[in-house]
Amino acid sequence: MLSSILAQVPWQSPTIDYHAIAPEIVLAGGICLIILVDLFVSESRKWITATLTGFVMLAALVPVLTLAVSDADVRTMFDGRYVVDEFALTLKALFLVAGYVVVLLSQNHVEEGDYYQGEYYTLLLTSVTGMVMMASSRDLVSIFVALEFLSIPAYMLAAWRKRDRKSNEAGVKYYLLGVFASAVMLYGMSLLYGVTGSTLLSEIGSKLTVEGQFGGVEALAITFVIIGFAFKVSAVPFHSWAPDTYEGAPTPVTAFLSVASKAAGFVALVTLIYVGFPQAKDVWQPFIWVMAAVTMTVGNLLALRQTNIVRMLAYSSISQGGFILMPLAVAGTGDAAGPALQAVIVYLLVYAAMNLGMFAVVIAASRTTRSGEISSFGGLFSYAPALGVLMTIFLASLAGIPPLGGWIAKFSAFRAVLEAGNGWAYAIAVIGAINSVVAFGYYGNIMREVWMKPAPNGETSAVRTPSSLVAALSITVAGTLLFGILPGTIMRFGDLVDLTGAFGG
């Protein structure tokens, strides 16, 4: 009978806009290239793979730019399952740049620790490809594929330090919970497909328009689907993997996870909410509201107690995730949809810059401290003033202090929330405000170590920072400062009408 169904559907080959998928093609080619190169270069010259990966990322950035300047602003393929619009392009660019920075971070780290370099970069590149795809996916299937595409390599990267028990543990935890979450999500998707009869988000959106008369199935389905990505963005209570994984995984990978894959999660979330179920806001708004509130609070409180800097950053990135969720919690209310989307994107961009920068500093600094303990950064300013200042900048930005990037991110989040202007909005705004103060508790604690404490065991030899790290640092710090002082530069990426259309303005 399946044949009969197939018979009903006439086969016409889809028209493919090669320009639109040029980035993905470049990346795919790059992956193959690196595998080949890795086969043929000698162990001593494996660094070439790193350089190549970097180049591939940048090369993939080229078509993104050409697409951005090209006149056709929305390109749709596979009848709407794969869309390249400004939203997608912005985030593709974000993923590629983030990936490039991660490569820079990884270079010495991977060289010095005994890792398989070629595979490492291959996996990294694969994961980035998955994200880039995620940005354009507008269909349950493609979203799912993209999700796995970016997750599976990440699982392996997390466990990349083969002989390190912590690393294994990190990988396994990440893996098991990840697949479990995506399994749950899939169940939700299946139900979604069941009630709407389509996997295409826009159609699902149109089917779910009727408000009020929801079957429990829809609610269940939406919840489960959202959980899948709540896991990716490590929103409380789906965050439990994050601290352990971040701590255990190689630091560059942690940076990658905490920035890129989190961003990917948000991209999917935004796509689902804005395109998939705009009219179902009665379901997801309260759900996300609670998640946002709990996430930023719990993240902060736990971060206060951490002694390991990476673990602390894990919790901090959790609470930052809460802030990114905050505008989504009211995205359906009033005309907050536009500002909310804008806030999320701006926040993602800024967050990528400052968090990567933070990890860069940590990596650079721990080359001398050789430890992840916060106390080991004591007196950093005295013997490595540059690193000290940079770390201060990134921390301050994370804490949201003007005129650094972080503040404009928080600002636009608050602005979006208050645009909604109902009681829930004010409530979460106040919660956010208080949390942003609490957050300084642990950011300031590190600053204090860096500036006001003496160096432990009198370690005061100047730090030598490899060029790749310097590059990474300069990119991120430039971003952080630029976004903060001239927010106009990124705010314009935010105003995207084509996604918010479903809310009817």
């Binding site: 301050a396 003007p402 202007g421 405000a433 006001m452």
Partner: protein
């Protein structure tokens, strides 16, 4: 609103020049201390030069208008612009910030607190200067907020790195308090923006511009105004600091290095009060009337409370810090009357308090440097060992307790007067009660300051410090012979201190003798700010 736009580059230059200096200093090797001091000083002086030029170009006949007004696109999406301007209310504080920075730089020339590293110290100070100046010229809420926050980190590090024993606790406390305040303040700003945008008449484009908000803020509903005002109130009150939010101040002041305390007292506290007179009250008149009695109440509580706190202190610097609480109480009392007289008094009081308390902290710093302690009980006979320093302390004490003919009086006396007849719609009985309590406060002020002076400056030096035959030798001990160095630490005021202090002292006298200098600048602007209250 009509503004004067000519020469609108002046303010930007004056504000951001210090950052240029910072950039230069970044390339000076840490070892070259003299050089970095020099660069910093030159930058500060140059900035002051711009400030003086601003002063000369300022049209005093139109002090009610915003001058050097510039309005450039900044963050279009959130309709916030780079709007700056200067009027009679901000001019004194703007200029004061520049002067103070220069003098503090001079003082720092040979007073870099441990652990040294003048480069970083001075860079922070320059950044601080930019933040302070910017806050006073910003005419856009978001811009104001940015500058308002910029001052935080430098001060945090100044206290935390170069401060006293408790510095880390104090600095973190200072930071968290202010963060908390400004977070709520930001929320209030944004809420205000949306509410006003909703109330705007056709064809007016919403923006964060303060003048515009002041024009249309009155359109808001009362409850909305009250809530928004509440948010701002917390933000500014923490900075002032007003009574329940004041506990960061003594710690911060006590722990901060001298320069930090001076800047904190002279300028940073003013950001809060300035916020009230520039933003909260003109934009939200209705709410202001609702809040005024409570603000007044907190102010007088602060006056008495601060005074009691002073009486209880055993540490000179901490005493001065508490006196700030009391003095800012007078300022806030003047503001809470919502009358032009009260506002004038308040702004005058801000400047006067800046000069006087700043000066007191300078003295405290020098005392600490000489005696290595600020325990009042251990001090004494300062007039004998360093008469000049002692008399300067006495002078500042007198100025601080509001002696007519010195600057302090013109902040206190009109503030108390204005409380007798507050703005229309405020309960006279309540405010007259405040008036009496505030007057009582002046007595307390006399008490703790003179008591301080008596215990530290009068009497015989304590044996532990009485070097040589200072004890009962009546022949010496006066005038220049006071410091015939029996103890190398106990030298009288040195040249850098003289350079740094003289302008303060002169200003205290000049403004005390001829307050019109400032009032005639402030008054017109205040009239504008209060037009919602019928003058």
């Amino acid at each position: 609103m009509d503004v004067l736009r000519d020469q609108n580059w002046v303010l930007s230059v004056g504000t951001f020049l210090p950052l240029v200096g910072v950039l230069v200093m970044l390339f000076i090797p840490k070892a070259e201390e003299e050089l970095s001091k020099l660069v910093a000083l030159v930058t500060a002086v140059a900035t002051l030069g711009v400030g003086v030029y601003t002063l000369t170009q300022f049209d005093f006949d139109q002090a009610d208008k915003l001058q050097f007004f510039a309005d450039a696109e900044w963050i279009k999406v959130i309709s916030s612009n780079y709007t700056i301007g200067l009027d009679g209310m901000s001019l004194p504080l703007y200029f004061l910030s520049m002067v103070v920075t220069v003098l503090v730089m001079v003082y720092s020339w040979n007073h870099i607190p441990s652990p040294g590293n003048p480069k970083a110290f001075l860079i922070l100070m320059l950044i601080l200067q930019t933040g302070m100046a910017g806050t006073f010229i910003a005419q856009d809420l978001i811009l104001f907020f940015v500058f308002f926050e910029v001052v935080l980190l430098p001060m945090y590090f100044m206290i935390g790195v170069w401060g006293g024993e408790q510095r880390q606790y104090a600095s973190l406390k200072f930071f968290l308090y202010t963060m908390f305040g400004s977070a709520l303040m930001l929320v209030a700003f944004i809420a205000l923006f949306f509410k006003v945008r909703g109330a705007l008449p056709e064809g007016v484009e919403a923006s964060f511009s303060i003048p515009q908000l002041a024009e249309y803020g009155g359109l808001l509903g009362r409850s909305a105004q009250i809530w928004i005002f509440g948010g701002m109130f917390v933000g500014f009150a923490v900075k002032v600091p007003m009574f329940p939010f004041h506990t960061w101040l003594p710690d911060a002041h006590t722990q901060a290095p001298t320069q930090g305390s001076v800047i904190l007292a002279a300028i940073l506290l003013k950001l809060g009060t300035y916020g009230f007179v520039r933003i909260a009250i003109p934009i939200l008149p209705e709410a202001a009337k609702e809040w005024a009695p409570w603000i007044g109440l907190l102010s007088v509580i602060g006056i008495i409370y601060g005074a009691l706190g002073c009486l209880a202190q055993t540490d000179m610097k901490r005493l001065i810090a508490f006196s700030s609480v009391a003095h800012m109480g007078f300022v806030m009392l003047g503001i809470s009357t919502l009358t032009p007289m009260g506002f004038n008094a308040a702004i005058f009081g801000m400047v006067a308090h800046g000069l006087i308390t700043g000066m007191l902290f300078f003295v405290a710093g020098s005392v600490k440097e000489r005696y290595h302690t600020l325990e009042i009980a251990r001090l004494g006979g300062m007039l004998k060992q360093m008469p000049k320093l002692g008399w300067i302390l006495g002078f500042c004490a007198m100025a601080s307790l509001g002696l007519p003919g010195l600057a302090g009086f013109w902040g206190e006396f009109p503030a108390i007067l204005s409380a007798y007849s507050p703005a229309v719609g405020l309960s006279e009985e309540v405010f007259r009660t405040f008036m009496v309590i505030a007057a009582l406060g002046t007595v307390f002020a006399a008490a703790y300051l003179l008591w301080l002076f008596q215990r530290t400056a009068f009497g015989e030096p304590k044996p532990e410090f009485a070097g040589g035959d200072h004890g009962h030798d009546h022949g010496h001990g006066h005038g220049a012979h006071g410091d015939d160095g029996h103890d190398d630490d106990l030298h009288d005021v040195n040249i850098f201190e003289w350079i740094a202090w003289t302008p303060f002292l002169i200003a205290i006298v000049v403004f005390g003798v001829y307050p019109q200098l400032m009032f005639k600048v402030i008054d017109p602007a205040v009239q504008v700010a209060l037009k919602a209250f019928g003058g």
